[in-house]
Amino acid sequence: MPVKTFIEAIREGLAEEMRRDPTTIVLGEDVGLKGGVFLATDGLHGEFGDDRVIDTPLTESMIVGASIGAAVNGLRPIAEIQFADFIFPAFNQILSEAARMRYRSNNALGVPMTIRAPYGGGVHGALYHSQSVEAFFTHIPGLKVVIPSTPYDAKGLLRSSIRNDDPVLFFEHKKMYRSVRGEVPDGEYTVPLGRAQVTRVGSRVTVVAYGLMAHYALEAADRAAEDGISVEVVDVRTLRPLDRETLLSSVRKTGKCLVVYEDNKFGGYGAEIAAIVAEEAFEFLDGPVTRVAGPDVPGVPYNHVLEDWFMVNPDKILAAIRTLAAY
């Protein structure tokens, strides 16, 4: 199987879906001739032209709001928000409009739209090019939220997101774009939304993670194995809808749950995972549900020492695994 980078998988997923379905369009800032600031849409303009690959002004609310209208009138827009940090001007359109359109119209109008946005830190992006924004969106019924961690999943989940009849937020960790490689088959395949994956089988501690953290969790798990601690890693992949079954059956088996996320700890997505495990697997637990997450500061600081202090890394995860395993 050919090995591809994370961003190559996304680019191919976009191109193949656009070839397959003429109602798909891509719109966003610099997505045209430049092919996106990370080159996720590179080559699409040349192949599909002005009508289907639209360079927009710097207007995030419009990018999302007009995508809603285009979806209502028969297209499948794939909107790119250049950085997740700049999605907030569109927050109202996503929350008040896209998420509620089906519910408020009693199922008469849907919004089959995918919003792609690079997120995450560790790339010297400082406060405004490093944020993890998933918790804002997983809070909202009506939205689906996807965060892949491998090139295979990225392509398969992107295809499923585009074909899905609901609004999907598809977040891509920008540190992974070129640093993560993996096998991606040539043929058509999809990865269904709403399915987590056990990426490492183990027996003593479950580590739940997604995105870049899913890689760091695997790294920490390998090192824990050297200490004789058997760690199971669950890569959530779709944050909403959440695959509770895979999550809970792993925790029921290991009796220990560590949740890892890069976002600020307080009120982050991992808090919801912890609450679900506490509510639904309490009698299986043999230690406190624990979180390793970003510190509660308003953003990732720029200076590399400060940035390292902020970022969750395999060392921090390993330390938490050891503590939990010893419980």
Partner: protein
């Protein structure tokens, strides 16, 4: 611009009521005067009477809503009184069930003109299970009707502009020859989405029309504290598109402005901003007491800008309407409104068991 007469098939329906209710048809008694009035717009006698009938029906439904509210039968009303002439005139220029509208909470006459019925309106007020706008999920005033290409209204103001712009974008890309029109107040026109939407629509020459119904107030705040200009329409030049100010009490002027904008949009020449100066004859909503911030003299003067009597006198003066026809239309509208009220009152509430439905296309998934 030479006006092309519209065929009957293209016209919006003149009854606006339920098919089951016989509202009668305007007859030959209206004379030939329409050869002058409305002729340059392609509007014949039937169309003019139909437009009048629609303005009057919207008013009759609206007045009934207030009676129901004040008698404790429906908890909330937000009115279109004072806006109806502009709404009917402007919406009349669109092709029903082909073009799209993204209305706002005062768009009662707009939605009626575009195909919703009195029953549709009243079931929305009662929030019944079969209310086509939202199945009783939204507050009254949040109209929508997909089979008539009416986008569902939400509460944050001005968000709908972007939906209409996106609809226009899709229409252009798909080559459907559709026009998308959206409506809002002058207060709402200050939202950032309006700038983003107009800018994009203008860049891409989209088949899009923004209608600002300027009634001089955003709840209690007068237009002088909302805009540093007398006209919202002046902003159009900043986007390189036409901005038109039209007297909202002049139904035919509104129709003319709209027809020009819609034809321009369909020719691929891009968007237009139409500002209709209307009046708000009621409080902002049933929860508002406008005498607290509007002087009695002002409210009296505002009555003089009401399109309903203005249009009636205009049609009467040229012999298209006479007392008997006006009385007949009023009686017919009363029947429609009575029917809609009785109908809506008898419809069941939504079943709470359905409240989890339609969060997602396939329903609530798995253990979600």
């Amino acid at each position: 611009m030479a006006a092309t007469p519209r065929t009957r098939e293209e016209q919006p329906p003149v009854d606006g009521g339920d098919p089951s209710v016989n509202v009668g048809k305007p007859g030959a008694e209206h004379g030939k005067s329409a050869a002058r009035l409305g002729a340059d717009l392609g509007l014949d006698d039937d169309a003019l009477v139909g437009m009048y009938r629609m303005v009057a029906l919207a008013r009759a439904i609206d007045e009934r809503m207030w009676i129901l509210n004040r008698s404790g039968r429906i908890p909330f009303v937000i009115s279109g009184q004072g806006h109806e002439g502009a709404q009917v005139g402007i919406t009349w220029a669109l092709r029903r069930a082909h073009d799209w509208i993204a209305p706002f909470y005062r768009s009662i006459a707009t939605c009626l003109t575009f195909g919703m019925t009195a029953r549709d309106m009243m079931t929305a007020q009662y929030a019944t299970a079969n209310d086509p706008s939202s199945g009783g999920r939204q507050m009254p005033g949040h109209y929508g009707h997909p089979s008539h290409n009416i986008v569902s209204v939400s509460s944050p103001v001005a968000t709908q502009i972007l939906h209409a712009v996106g609809i226009a974008l899709a229409a252009r890309i798909r080559g459907t020859d559709q026009v998308a029109m959206t409506f809002m107040g002058e207060g709402s026109s200050n939202q950032g989405d309006v700038h983003e939407g107009l800018n994009f629509a203008a860049i891409h020459h989209l088949p899009f029309v923004l209608v600002v119904e300027n009634n001089g107030y955003a709840i209690s705040v007068p237009a002088t504290k909302e805009l540093a200009l007398p006209d919202v329409a002046a902003r159009a030049s900043g986007y390189g598109i036409p901005g038109v100010v039209v007297d909202g009490a002049d139904v035919l002027a509104c129709y003319r402005a709209s027809k020009i904008a819609v034809e321009r949009a369909r020719r691929g020449e891009g968007p237009t901003l139409i500002e209709a100066k209307v009046t708000r004859l009621t409080g902002h909503s049933s929860d508002d007491q406008q005498t607290k911030y509007r002087a009695a003299e002002e409210l009296t003067a505002e009555r003089a800008r009401d399109a309903l009597p203005h249009f009636r006198e205009q049609l009467r003066a040229v012999g298209i309407l006479d007392d008997a026809t006006v009385a007949r239309i009023d009686a017919e509208n009363r029947v429609i409104v009575d029917d809609a009220t009785t109908y809506a009152e008898a419809q069941p509430d939504p079943d709470p068991a359905t409240a989890l439905d339609h969060v997602y296309a396939e329903g609530v998934e798995g253990t979600f």
